[in-house]
């Protein structure tokens, strides 16, 4: 009997261990359902969810108690590259990057679990925006254009595939986007006349599923090149459409060799994520000659527009205009500047700005607003549904643009010089484009993105390295902390063990903020 009992016990034990392992595996894995409906204790993709709104439902930290916000922990990367990534949070572990490096850090304590380093000498090391995750695997783009899949649990490489040819002048910085069984990756590269594209990889094998080209192959007569896809897009599961912004045409400042609108550069495009086929495209800067990539987040909002329910897409574009589109068909609902712009003659019937030929770069210089960095850039905006405010870190600025025949028709093909700029958080009423409030950030400008919370907080940073928490209702500062170096990333938030955290970075440091534990509602001391 004893023998039988032991065997039974062993069997039961084995069964239980098996169950645990299974349960554990389920928790470790990030399944499609969790990407569609991210749980509170996760930030499973670059923008937190597919909408790109960067708005969280948490109400623990409020305008009333934010004065008590304090540091939970700091993680020191001990290296020079600035953190520009948005961390992912899955199963209590944060994953964040700088070029060539990934860290997995315990979200509760801030201690390192593993670090992956893959030195590369080729490709621009300008920044790295973060990893994507699916079913326990991470996807990471390197400066020399490799897509690397790693086990999230230990950072071991599973496979290594090519996204593009670094020797042609491509590099990669962006956080891939996982949609169903597709890992979607974009490319960077402004210094050569190259075709921008999106490429979809099989998450399991890394084989290429499809590629969508923004522009015709280099060398096509009178056609543009360019249209780099260097920021993470968004996705509407109901329409099964992927939304992505494309970059500037090349040659960059010389528009003469590429007449016309230069589709699909400086555009917002809607693609079928299963096939890569274009559903529609909207040109945000037809025939751009100022390097104004339209890669800023295509934010997806469902709501009323002038009394009619709409599925909308909103973008504060680098060229200085705020766009609202009907995302079912790409039809324009609103185009309006959100700061100083002087390069367009007006807006055409379809809502495209009409570029002023007299404001193309010239041998003796043209005064242009905004500057080449644009009225905003890669830093993320946020949409607050309660107030209907689209909140963006803007950069009113002026510059001079030059181009002459000697500059040629390859790559940059001109020169431009910023004269002056500043940073300001603008809260834009999405139905009118009117700026409801603005908050000055200082000369030069800020690299900090924006996140809003359902409790009415707007989290961002100023030009000097202060983290700011503003009141979404009026833009007034509620709380701040100097982080030592200007912020170059967009904040995230999540709830763990009933405690709401806000995570951001400055320089090579990652910061986690929360209310003091003894004051967290529902927490035992």
């Amino acid at each position: 009997m004893k023998f039988v009992n032991d065997r039974l016990l062993l069997l039961l034990l084995g069964f239980a261990v098996g169950l645990c392992a299974l349960a554990n595996a389920c928790a470790q894995d990030l399944e499609g359902a969790q990407l569609l409906h991210p749980p509170a204790d996760s930030w499973p993709m670059y923008h937190g969810d597919y909408s790109g709104r960067r708005h969280v439902s948490f109400t623990q930290i409020t305008p009333q108690n934010v004065g008590d916000l304090s540091l939970a922990w700091v993680y020191q990367t001990n290296q020079q590259a600035q953190i520009k990534s948005s961390p992912l949070l899955v199963n209590g572990v944060l994953y964040f990057t700088v070029p060539d490096n990934i860290w997995a850090v315990d979200a509760r304590s801030g201690h390192m679990i593993w670090h992956y380093n893959r030195p590369s000498t080729k490709g621009d090391h300008i920044g790295q925006r973060g990893v994507a995750m699916y079913k326990g695997r991470l996807y990471f783009a390197t400066p020399d254009c490799h897509l690397i899949s790693l086990n999230a649990k230990d950072g071991k490489v599973r496979w290594d595939k090519l996204i593009a040819d670094v020797d042609k002048g491509y590099w990669t910085t962006m956080a891939p986007l996982v949609v169903k069984e597709h890992v979607i990756v974009g490319v960077s590269g402004d210094f050569d006349n190259l075709t921008g594209y999106l490429r979809s990889f099989d998450p399991e094998t890394g084989s290429v599923q499809w590629q969508w080209n923004a522009t015709p192959p280099a060398g096509t007569p009178h056609a543009t090149t360019g249209g780099m896809t260097w920021m993470t897009g968004t996705y509407d599961p109901e329409l099964n459409l992927l939304y992505w912004g494309t970059g500037n045409p090349t040659p960059v400042l010389n528009g003469q060799p590429r007449p016309g609108d230069n589709l699909y550069t400086c555009s917002i495009v809607a693609l079928n994520p299963d096939t890569g086929k274009l559903a529609w495209g909207f040109s945000v800067s037809p025939h751009d000659t100022h390097d104004w990539d339209a890669v800023e987040t295509p934010v997806l909002v469902d709501g009323s527009f002038h009394g009619q329910p709409r599925k909308m897409l909103m973008q504060t574009s680098r060229n200085g205009y705020f766009f609202v589109l009907d995302r079912t068909n790409g039809k324009n609902l609103l185009t309006i500047p959100y700061g100083p712009v002087n390069w367009a003659l007006g807006i055409d019937k379809e809502g495209h700005p009409i570029p002023n030929p007299a404001k193309e770069p010239a041998p003796d210089g043209r005064l242009i607003a905004p500057d080449e960095g644009g009225l905003t850039n890669y830093r993320a905006p946020s949409f607050d549904s309660k107030t209907g405010l689209f909140i963006v870190d803007a950069h009113p600025s002026w510059s001079i643009y030059f181009a002459k025949p000697a500059d040629g028709a390859y790559g940059w093909a001109g020169a431009d010089y910023g004269l002056w700029g500043k940073g300001v958080i603008e809260a834009i009423d999405y139905q009118t484009g009117k700026i409801r409030w603005s908050h000055q950030l200082g000369e030069g400008g800020s690299g900090a993105g924006v996140m809003t919370t359902a409790s009415g907080l707007t989290v961002t940073g100023d030009a000097h390295g202060n983290m700011l928490i503003l009141n979404t209702a009026d833009g007034k500062t509620l709380w701040h902390a100097g982080l030592g170096s200007p912020i170059q990333s967009s904040p995230i938030s999540y709830e763990l063990d009933g405690r709401q955290y806000i995570v951001n970075s400055s320089g090579g440091l990652l910061f986690a903020w929360a209310l003091p534990q003894n004051r967290t509602p529902g927490q035992k001391r």
């Binding site: 000498t121 621009d124 402004d190 100083p340 005064l367 001079i400 002056w420």
Partner: protein, 360 residues
């Protein structure tokens, strides 16, 4: 190539483990071999290239076949003698550092020839890099430049997103020792948004070598270059510029052609003059702070954000206050330049530029 790097990284880890095992084995065998090695050193000097062999065996896997390094992971060893005395290099070889494993087995004759090898030919190669011969140093610099500098200054150092053309930079042209460039690299230019870079001396030298190479290239091919020459900025009408200066531009409210602007065109020219004209970056603003006691403190505004205001007083002393504790008033006449931006036509700018260029 990239697989190679992976292998290289893996090998260096493997080497570290191997070095530990090998080292302990060597300690025992070295004693026995000690006498023999010394003997051979005296009797038959090591062949001339034994240092190269030792290098190929122990170092090349990470530091490259030509000592060019594999940045950022593995530093170039060319010019190592400029950075480190031989005894330090020897220590490093024996004990390792960071991810570099120690090689305690490399000693006596082998060590001497390896050190000798590390010191050879390096000056010739360095010189080749500086004069633009595509030398090893400038090649290492090119890799660093592509990673860290190219985004702003262009891949060919001739200007790109936001950064100026370095081949036309006055500072680069004047600074023949490289000290000034090195200073800018290490300290950055906060006013112009250039961040500081923490490169080693050797890395800095390699970047400077690359910039020099690009500079030589630009001088050799003046036709096809981008950038803005003085001749480009001569399209305006000086008389119309004078009228704008005295009238619509409102420039005469603060400036005078016989006062602060007298001889301005002799001091500045071309793009630099135009940029200064449109927005002078180095202007110091004055601030007066009124303390709760009613006492007033004045000086040059040293720092200001939403929460802190600071000034330097007449003695150069720095004072700071929380903005919610004091009243303060900043006098910033330079704001008039910002207010002009939306009012200018391009012709106004070109005319004003023509007028300023008459003030010699």
């Amino acid at each position: 190539m990239n697989n190679l790097k992976g292998i290289r990284a893996a090998l260096s880890i493997a080497a570290a483990i191997a070095a530990i095992t090998v080292a302990s084995a060597l300690v025992t065998s070295a004693n026995a071999a000690d006498h023999e090695v010394k003997q051979s050193q005296v009797d038959t000097p090591a062949p001339k290239d034994s240092g190269a062999e030792s290098y190929a065996q122990h170092c090349a896997i990470c530091h490259g076949d030509q000592r060019e390094g594999n940045l950022p992971g593995f530093p170039p060893l060319l010019g190592i003698s400029h950075r480190m005395p031989n005894d330090k290099v020897a220590d490093l070889i024996h004990t390792g550092k960071g991810r570099m494993p120690g090689f305690p087995g490399v000693k006596d004759g082998e060590l001497t020839s390896l050190l000798h090898f590390l010191n050879t030919d390096e000056s010739a190669q360095t010189a080749a890099g500086v004069v633009g011969g595509g030398g090893v140093l400038s090649k290492a610099g090119a890799a660093l430049f592509q990673q860290n500098c190219a985004f702003c200054h262009g891949r060919d150092a001739m200007g790109g997103e936001t950064g100026p053309d370095l081949t036309q930079s006055k500072l680069v042209r004047k600074d023949r020792t490289g000290d000034e460039i090195s200073k800018v690299i290490h300290e950055g230019r906060p006013d112009n948004k250039m961040p500081p870079f923490n490169f080693s001396e050797q890395e800095t030298r390699s970047i400077i070598a690359f910039i020099r190479e690009r500079e030589a290239e630009a001088v050799a091919h003046p036709g096809g270059r981008r950038g803005v020459s003085v001749a480009d900025l001569q399209t305006g009408n000086a008389a119309a510029g004078k009228r704008y200066f005295e009238g619509a531009g409102g420039c005469a409210k603060c400036h005078s052609p016989t006062g602060d602007l007298a001889g301005i065109a002799s001091r500045h020219e071309g793009l630099e003059l135009e940029e200064r004209m449109l927005y002078p970056r180095d202007v110091k603003n004055h601030v007066t702070v009124t303390l709760p006691s009613g006492k007033k403190v004045s000086g040059i505004l040293a720092y200001q954000d939403e929460f802190t205001v600071a000034l330097r007083d007449a003695d150069g002393l720095y004072h700071a206050w929380l903005t919610n504790r004091v009243q303060f008033k900043i006098d910033e006449p330079v704001e008039a330049h910002v207010e002009l931006f939306p009012k200018y036509t391009d012709d106004d700018i070109h005319n004003l530029m023509a007028y300023l260029q008459t003030l010699r």
